[in-house]
Symmetry: none
Subunit: 217 residues, 2 copies
DNA sequence: CACCGTGTAAGAGAAATTCTTACATCCTTC
DNA sequence: GAAGGATGTAAGAATTTCTCTTACACGGTG
C-alpha cells in the first residue's frame, strides 16, 4: 500500500498539532510538510510533492483562496482540501472553481477528514454533507438526504414556505395571519398544505426539518 | 512539583486532540477528563476534580456560558479558562462575571495556553493580550441585555428550562409529557410557570428568547 | 378547454393552551 | 422547628389553536 503524502497549512498551532497527530496515527498516511503561513507553505511544500494538501482558508499573510492557485500551479497533481471554520457557500463555490478537491468544516470529525483525504487521493471530490445544500442546482448529482430534503422543500409554494418558516419560529397561525394581513383560515390552509407536502404532521417535525435544510438562522 | 489536573471541554475533536497532546507533553500537567458536550462534561468532570478546566464557548448541546456556572457550582475551586474562536467582547465580559479565570482565543499559540494554565492555577487571571483592549475602561460596565436574559433564564427550575427548550423546538405539551413520562397537565404547568417567569405569553416569543441566549443549537 | 397549482377563506370537530387550584417535598430562614 | 418559598406533580374549565374538508377565483399548460 502506498503512503499518502500530506501537507498541512494552518496558522492555528493547536489544530495543526491535532491534524498531525491524527494523520500520523494512520498507517497509510504521512505528514511531509507543515506551514503556518502562505509564505512558508510556498517555500516548503513544493519540494515534498504531497499527494494531498490540507489548506486553511484563513491565513495571516494571504487568503487560502489566493494561495490555492499558486499551489496548484506548482503542484498540479496535488489534491487540495480546503478547511474552514464557517459554512460559507461563497468560499465553497470559489474554492471548487479554483480547483480544490475537497471542502471540510473544521468542526468535522476525525473520520470525515480521513475519509476526505482518501477520497481526494483516489481522484474524488469530497464535500462536507452539511455544505452540500449550497451546491444545489450544481451538476454533481449525488443524492443525499439533505439534498432530497431541500428538493422537497422547493415543492412548496412561496406562501407555503413563508408560513412554514414562521411556524418554525413558533408563531401561531393567528400571528402569521395578522402579520401578513390574511385570514387565519388562509394561513391554516398554507400550513395544512405545507405539512401535507412535507409529509409531516406536527410542529416539532417542521422545526427539525427546517433546521436540517438550514433555512433558519 | 504538583501536577496540574486539567479537564477539556470542546466539541471540536481535532482541537481536543491537539490540546491533549500539547498538555500531555508538559511534565507538570495532566489531562484528567475530556468531553465534547456539556452533558458529558457534567457527567465526567466533577469526579476528577481538575485544577483547571478549558471550556469551549460553543458546544452542541449548551452554550459554554451556561455550562460555566454549572461547573463552578460543582467545582468551586476549579479555575476555568474559556476558549473561543472569535474576539467577542460580550463573551469576555460575561465570562469573567460568571467566574471564569481566563479567556483565550483558539488561535492562541501553544505558549499562551500553557502560560494561561499556569497563571490561573496560581490563582491569577489570564486574558489574551489581544482581548485586553475590550476590557479597557469598562470593568463593571452596564449589564447588557444578553446578560439580563441569561440571568432571567436561570431563574427557571431545571424542569421549566427543559420544557422551554422542548417547546422552542416545536414540541407540544403532549409530546413533551410523553417523552418525559409526565402528565400533559404537569408539562402545561411548567410551561405556564416558565412563561410567567420569562414574562412572555406566546411560543414565538419563547423561540426568540432562547435564540437570543443561545441555548439552542 | 380542462386541469393543476396557487392564493384565498369558512365551518366543524379535535387538540392544545391558559389559568386556577391542589398537595407533597425539600430547603431556607427566623 | 415552624413558617415560608420554590419545586415537582397534576386535574378542571374556559379559551384558543389546529386539522381537515370544502369552496371558489385565477393563471398557466398540455
Amino acid at each position: 500500500m502506498p503512503i499518502i503524502k500530506i501537507a498541512l497549512v494552518d496558522d492555528h498551532a493547536l489544530l495543526l498539532a491535532g491534524l498531525k497527530m491524527l494523520i500520523s496515527a494512520q498507517e497509510d498516511m504521512r505528514v511531509v510538510a507543515e506551514a503556518q503561513t502562505a509564505q512558508e507553505a510556498l517555500k516548503v511544500i513544493p519540494a515534498t510533492t504531497p499527494d494531498c494538501i490540507l489548506l486553511d482558508i484563513s491565513l495571516p499573510d494571504m487568503s487560502g483562496m489566493e494561495l490555492l492557485p499558486l499551489l496548484k500551479e506548482r503542484l498540479p497533481s496535488s489534491h487540495i482540501i480546503l478547511l474552514t471554520m464557517h459554512e460559507d457557500q461563497q468560499y465553497l463555490k470559489k474554492g471548487m472553481e479554483l480547483g480544490a478537491s475537497g471542502f471540510l468544516l473544521k468542526r468535522a470529525m476525525d473520520q470525515d477528514l480521513l475519509y476526505a483525504i482518501r477520497t481526494v487521493y483516489g481522484g474524488g471530490i469530497y464535500i462536507q454533507p452539511d455544505m452540500l445544500k449550497y451546491m444545489v442546482g450544481n451538476k454533481s448529482a449525488s443524492v443525499n438526504p439533505q439534498e432530497k430534503a431541500l428538493a422537497l422543500w422547493n415543492t412548496l409554494s412561496p406562501r407555503e414556505q413563508d408560513v412554514m418558516i414562521q411556524l418554525a419560529k413558533g408563531f401561531s397561525s393567528r400571528e402569521i395571519a395578522d402579520a401578513c394581513n390574511l385570514s387565519e383560515k388562509t394561513v391554516a390552509t398554507y400550513r395544512y398544505r405545507g405539512f401535507l407536502k412535507l409529509g409531516i404532521s406536527r410542529r416539532s417535525e417542521l422545526v427539525a426539518f427546517v433546521m436540517k435544510i438550514g433555512v433558519l438562522s
